[in-house]
């Protein structure tokens, strides 16, 4: 996504930095001594080194990692996900329920589930946009912390044992490869497409005119140019307003590029394809029924499809982070629609729980309303007088700089079409966010003060001030490698001028060394906080009580007729043991097992609990073999203001997330035949369940509880 500060930098295209110039800051990466695969953050890894790192980690830590190739880019480069989870813990329903008498046709379309799919999943990815590779580094940092902390750090060990992390450092391999390895900054994926319709494919991209390995900028004197030289630092070019009068010479600044195919246009048919973060199914169409997002259709890009398919086949994923740069803030949903499409309970978790923690992490003030939701009615009244944002008035607070939505609330206008975070949140019910990493004004310790500079400040003066400070810093601490001095060059089409300026490699990404490591660490910690919020569904108090024995199971069956069970005490003795099984299923995690949104979505299911025994030896007298539990609440009380007024945003009293809407899917509602599975209707985070079964001999029983996003657990039942 884009940013406002440093916008001028982002326009510039990029280049390869030679290895020699890479080690610019002597900062020790915070590498724990225990790591078998050392990693440093003194420069960006790029595609090849990232892949090597993932393979090395997967080889070094086979018990807690697995490397998956989830698809290939348009240019054939694999997209990798590293699963970080203890492969020995975790189970799935299909490992316990035996099937019999299958169809003679024998179609094998269902693969056995992997153990990690029985744990709450946490997705973290970087570089959906190829030139936003700071997220890649945060992913690698997170992997490093998880694998090296496993066994050493208690919290990390618990997370790796109990959760499944799916880390995809590079969603867009071609974009990253071109941006870092090839030196051509590329936000989009690659596509063999004839952009200009001249019959030739990708024939006119950016060019390294002087062969210095950097695609920087070309500036030339131009009476109609939009730039002048900065007074304080003549290396900086300052954009002036169209009608602004000036006595200084005017310049034009363009990307380092020439016309490769003689059509009098420069860079009109590069390898760049489409913006992957506009290729997802949510809000891809515009209101007039024409394409709004990128690509021929939603998920048309192989990279977007790989993600969509991975999420759909891993319904255990409940937390998701899509890293972008830059700005130093987080976009929580939504960007395609106002918050009226969200459930107030989900908004409360997003803002009061996650948002609060994020602001604390990056050192920004937390809004009053989040600290004390009871004050919201009063704050709402204040906003009525001061705010032009009707959604802020409904909520009772403006969203702060560090935690906001990309939807333009003031003008009631959508930000874009087909974005991954909206899709994930609205269509899969995943707690998805997009963090725009890197705010140089805040993330560089000891950034020199110059006139005009200010953290998060807006406006041309502030931007110029920041740029001056950054230039000074790169002079002092990076040996001037981030900004090429202007040197004369004769452009084949534009004539005399100069090549130089910011190296695009660093223009929109956290600067290597201490700043990058700091960004990585803060965001790693924030995601671990979120991982700790995941639900954790367990069986407590499983009990089996022998009531009596019987000659036949069918005799016991008859005793259930009429919907009541008459338990005969004493009576006949026989090989059938009539057993009452009771258990408590509980969600020990802070969050409920679905978002309020997710509990109403197709593709999501209720939590269920099975009592599993040998088919021929166990007869169910009361309670069906599996019982539906609805959605289990979490331990976190949903913070809210009492239900006063507030238009579309009703902060209603918290209740169980939409248990009533979690109905069995339509296919399961059939007429005739036996009645459906028992529905357990209890609120809160606990469910007390019960079965009455006739068991032949001492055939074993076990309870398997399975929550789509809260994990699967199996417990053997001992008969007392």
């Amino acid at each position: 996504m884009s940013i406002r500060p440093l916008k001028s930098l982002k326009r510039f295209k990029l280049l390869t930095l030679l290895a020699a110039s890479a080690a610019v800051l002597a900062v020790t990466a915070p590498a724990p001594a225990a790591s078998k695969v050392p990693i440093s953050f003194d420069d960006y890894h790029g595609y090849a080194a990232t892949v090597k790192y993932l393979k090395d980690v997967a080889a070094a830590y086979p018990q807690i990692t697995a490397l998956l190739e989830i698809g290939k880019s348009n240019m054939g480069r694999p997209i990798y996900v590293l699963v970080v989870s203890n492969m020995k813990t975790g189970t799935t329903v299909d490992a316990h329920v035996a099937l019999r008498n299958p169809r003679a046709e024998g179609v094998k379309n269902v693969a056995p589930m992997k153990p990690d799919m029985g744990k709450p999943g946490h997705w973290i990815c970087g570089a959906t946009h190829g030139n936003e590779y700071t997220g890649t580094e945060v992913c690698l940092y997170t992997i490093d912390k998880l694998v090296s902390g496993y066994g050493a750090d208690k919290e990390t060990t618990a997370l790796v044992d109990g959760k499944a992390f799916y880390i995809c450092p590079i969603v867009n391999p071609d974009g990253v490869f071109n941006s870092l390895e090839k030196g051509v900054s590329q936000r989009q994926n690659s596509a063999a497409k004839d952009d200009d319709g001249d019959g030739k494919v990708n024939e006119d991209g950016p060019d390294d005119l002087d062969g210095d390995g950097v695609i920087a900028q070309f500036r030339y004197k131009d009476a109609r140019g939009a730039y002048v030289v900065d007074d304080e630092d003549p290396r900086l070019m300052v954009r002036i307003r169209p009608n602004e009068k000036t006595d200084k010479p005017r310049w034009s600044v363009v990307a380092e590029d020439k016309d490769n195919d003689g059509d009098k246009r420069r860079g009109e048919d590069p390898e760049a394809g489409i913006d992957l973060n506009r290729n997802f199914p949510e809000g891809w169409w515009n209101d007039q029924g024409f394409a709004g997002g990128s690509g021929d259709y939603p998920t048309s890009a192989p990279e977007a499809r790989a993600l969509a398919e991975f999420f759909v086949t891993h319904p255990n994923i409940f937390m998701a982070q899509f890293y972008h740069t830059m700005g130093g803030f987080t976009y929580r949903p939504l960007g395609t629609a106002p918050h009226t499409r969200l459930d107030a309970r989900d908004v409360a978790i997003l803002d009061f729980v996650m948002g609060k923690k994020y602001l604390e992490t990056i050192g920004e003030d937390v809004p009053e309303a989040w600290k004390d939701p009871a004050r919201i009615p009063a704050l709402r009244e204040e906003l009525r007088k001061t705010s032009k944002n009707k959604y802020a008035i409904e909520r009772g607070y403006e969203l702060p700089y560090g935690w906001k939505v990309s939807y333009d609330e003031v003008n009631d206008r959508r930000y874009g079409f087909g974005m991954s975070t909206d899709w994930d949140f609205l269509q899969l019910g995943v707690w998805s966010i997009t963090t725009e990493l890197w705010n140089p004004a805040k993330d560089i310790p000891g950034l020199p003060r110059t006139s005009g500079a200010g953290a998060g400040a807006e406006g041309p003066a502030a931007r110029l001030g920041l740029e001056r400070a950054l230039l000074k810093l790169q002079d002092e601490k990076y040996g001037g490698k981030l900004f090429a001095r202007w040197k004369p060059f004769k452009h084949p089409e534009l004539g005399e001028g100069e090549l130089g300026g910011w190296n695009p490699r660093y223009a929109a990404n956290a600067w290597p060394g201490e700043p990058l490591a700091g960004v990585c660490d803060r965001h790693y910690r924030f995601e671990m906080f979120r991982a700790g919020l995941l639900p954790d569904v367990v069986v407590t108090e499983a009990k089996a009580r022998l009531l009596y024995t019987s000659e036949s199971a069918s005799e016991a069956t008859a005793a259930v007729a009429g919907g009541e069970v008459r338990i005969k005490k004493g009576g006949a003795k026989g090989k059938y043991r009539i057993i009452e099984v009771t258990a408590v299923v509980e969600n020990k995690g802070p969050l409920a097992t679905h978002t309020a949104r997710g509990s109403a979505l197709r593709g999501n299911r209720e939590d269920v609990v099975w009592l599993v025994g040998a088919r021929d030896k166990v007869t169910f007298l009361q309670g069906t073999p599996y019982q539906r539990l609805g959605v289990l609440d979490g331990a976190t009380r949903i913070p809210s203001a009492a239900a006063e007024g507030g238009g579309g945003m009703r902060m209603a009293t918290p209740r169980t997330p939409a248990e009533e809407s979690m109905m069995p899917p339509p296919q399961a509602q059939r007429r005739g035949g036996p009645p459906g599975p028992t529905q357990v209707r209890q609120g809160g985070a606990r469910r007390e369940v019960r079965w009455l079964v006739a068991v032949e001999g001492d055939s074993p029983l076990k309870i398997v509880v399975s929550s789509q996003k809260g994990g699967t657990k199996a417990v053997d039942v001992k008969v007392q």
Binding site: V110, G289, P298, V608, T624, P674
Partner: protein, 624 residues
């Protein structure tokens, strides 16, 4: 001095002449031989995957001058989706001609679509040499024919015991019953008789009894009646996962015809648009074919012509949502117009939809085509198709191609309803089985052992190809009529022709030369939707002169120098050519101002139309 201008016309043929050998066979006698035995095959049975693809390969081998075969991709289970591309290669490559797309059986169980589309391919190939109608169509048009779209489920439906409803979807595993297991409890042929019928168990509290003829299970009306009673268990199958339910999680995932991008929503089609290999292969392939002009998609059942219509105009402001977009007066008008039309054509149809003026022609075209379709297909009802991620919604709304979803066959309702009350009673149905199916197609109730339920009774239902897909004896009739409809639609693809030529003296040596450019067919040279999508390639006319004639450039506002007001009625062809679009049944007039510099000269008009084909006309001018 008076001059007479004699016109000599020579129409330049577009494309080359068809092969002479082929022409010698061309039939004009409807009683003559039309090539059926050149590749004989039975149209009175269904074919499984291996068989129908073998037929496709053989047809291509026999008619290499007309057909290409290719796989457009693989299904989830690895079967190739084979596609035939059919056109007369002698008149141009397939991609250079406008095209008709035909696919069948996107729903696995609706295998009648396979026979209908396969029949169309066979009809085109065997008849090309013999049938002038087919011959002309294939000279100008390409057919892309994909007989089985959902190949895994299609093959299963034909070859294995199944109810008429399954398998319907591609084989993405799904947890239909929400128990955490995927596709774990499917139907089974419990008694091994090759049919999937319905199971009952004897139960004193049951609601069913055997009918007097012992062929059916019927409801017990009188609760006091003392009779052997049955409880209905459901379709034949076992309880595979031991949850007490039977067949509650059958094979397959999302509805493939809710998987296309247009009008898609999560509720219509979990999990995401184009998620299935089978549908994505089709759509990706269609994206490479900008020449698709119309499409047919075969389904079962219901005898419907579901065509895509332009978007309805929104209800006027203030009107409740869901209210008809068309005001009562406009609706009355449609009804009155329809009554008028039906005085002379009982098949006439008018869509009950109000559309924006820029879409009116698309609606008019569809009205005309589906009225003819109703006439050809008999007992089929035209109706506007839905959006919701359906394939034919994407073809119209995303490509601007006219699209039709045909619900083939129609259960035996039309044949069996002998008291014409609009319904088929069980008695009527049994009569139909006895008389018209000659006893075929019924499973008699019988006992069987069941490992989960104990003793069951199975039967009292029709067999597989009776309700949703037609019994073998009806396959060919269905296929022939539907092939006729597709060919009729293809015959109405636009065709650019020149009409009347007029030469009018202006002043001095100057003459207005005017031609009519017309499209006598029903379809326009590009749809309104294609125009809205900016996918339409405009038709283009250019004019040139030779010999003793030269074209005088006329400024756009030319009426002032034109005493006969010629240019006001017809458009002056610009020096660089003039762009236009011809609607169905439309004629436009173009003119140039010619200066005679010698005794004789010529003017040539040339039209390039992507969908309507090239056309040219030379006019020789001679001063006497």
């Amino acid at each position: 001095m008076k001059k007479n201008i004699i016109l000599m016309l020579a129409i330049l043929l577009a494309g080359s002449l068809a092969a002479v050998s082929a022409q010698s066979k061309l039939q004009t006698n409807p009683g003559g031989y039309h090539g059926e035995l050149d590749y004989p095959m039975s149209w009175k049975r269904y074919y499984g995957y291996e068989e129908w693809t073998k037929i496709m390969r053989e047809l291509q081998k026999k008619y290499p001058q007309l057909a290409d075969i290719q796989s457009i991709g693989k299904s989830r289970m690895g079967r190739d989706q084979l596609l035939l591309t059919i056109t007369a290669k002698s008149t141009g490559k397939p991609e250079t001609k406008r095209a008709m797309w035909v696919d069948g059986a996107i729903h696995g169980n609706e295998v009648n679509g396979i026979t209908c589309s396969l029949y169309l391919a066979w009809y085109l190939l065997t008849r090309y040499d013999y049938d002038p109608f087919v011959h002309e169509i294939l000279d100008r048009t390409t057919f892309y024919i994909l007989p089985g779209l959902n190949v895994d489920a299609n093959d299963s439906y034909v070859r294995f015991p199944n109810t008429e409803n399954n398998p319907r979807e591609p084989y993405r595993p799904a947890d239909d019953d929400g128990d955490g297991l995927f596709d774990e409890d499917q139907t089974e042929d419990v008694d091994g008789d090759g049919e999937l019928s319905v199971m009952y168990v004897e139960d004193p509290a049951g609601e069913f009894k055997l009918s007097p003829d012992k062929r059916r299970f019927v409801r017990v009306d009188d609760i006091r009646e003392e009779v052997r009673r049955f409880r209905r268990v459901g379709a034949e199958g076992f309880d595979n996962d031991g949850d007490g339910q039977i067949n509650e999680d059958d094979i397959g995932g999302p509805d493939p015809n809710r998987n296309f991008p247009y009008g898609w929503s999560l509720d219509a089609g979990y999990p995401y648009p184009m998620s299935e290999a089978e549908t994505r292969n089709v759509f990706e392939f269609q994206l490479t074919l900008p020449n698709i002009f119309a499409s047919f998609h075969y389904h079962n059942t219901g005898r419907l012509i579901m065509f895509q219509a332009p978007p309805a105009v929104r209800p006027p402001a203030g009107q409740a949502p869901g209210a008809p977009a068309m005001g009562p007066r406009a609706q009355q008008t449609v009804q009155q117009r329809l009554e008028e039309l039906r005085k002379t054509d009982k098949y006439a149809y008018l869509a009950d939809r109000q559309v924006a003026p820029e879409y009116q022609h698309d609606l008019d075209v569809q009205n005309e085509i589906v009225s003819a379709g109703a006439r050809i297909l008999k007992d089929y009802t035209p109706t506007i198709g839905g959006l919701s991620g359906q394939a034919h919604a994407a073809t119209y709304y995303m490509f601007g191609a006219y699209s039709y979803l045909i619900e083939l066959w129609g259960s035996p309702a039309f044949e069996a309803d002998i008291d014409s009350d609009g319904q088929v009673s069980e008695e009527e149905f049994m009569k139909w089985v006895d008389i018209e199916l000659m006893g075929e197609g019924w499973v008699l109730p019988h006992k069987a052992k069941h490992p989960d339920v104990g003793e069951v009774w199975i039967g009292g239902t029709s067999r597989k190809h009776v309700g949703r897909t037609p019994p073998a004896r009806y396959i060919e009739t269905e296929a022939l009529r539907n092939a006729n409809f597709v060919l009729y639609a293809a015959s109405q693809f636009p065709k650019i022709d020149f009409g009347e030529v007029k030469v009018t003296p202006a002043t001095g040596d100057l003459y207005w030369v005017e031609v009519e450019v017309k499209n006598d067919k029903a379809y326009p040279t590009s749809s309104d939707r294609a125009v809205a999508l900016k996918r339409a390639v405009m038709d283009r006319i250019t004019a040139s002169a030779g010999g003793g004639a030269e074209i005088v450039e006329v400024p756009a506002a030319s009426t002032a120098v034109d005493p006969w007001n010629r240019a006001a009625q017809s458009e002056v062809v610009a020096a660089k050519g003039t762009e236009f679009r011809l609607k169905g049944h439309e004629t436009k007039r173009f003119c140039v101002l010619v200066k005679m510099t010698g005794a004789a000269g010529s003017v040539e008009f040339a039209v390039r139309s992507k969908m309507g084909g090239p056309a040219a006309k030379r006019i020789t001018l001679k001063a006497e």
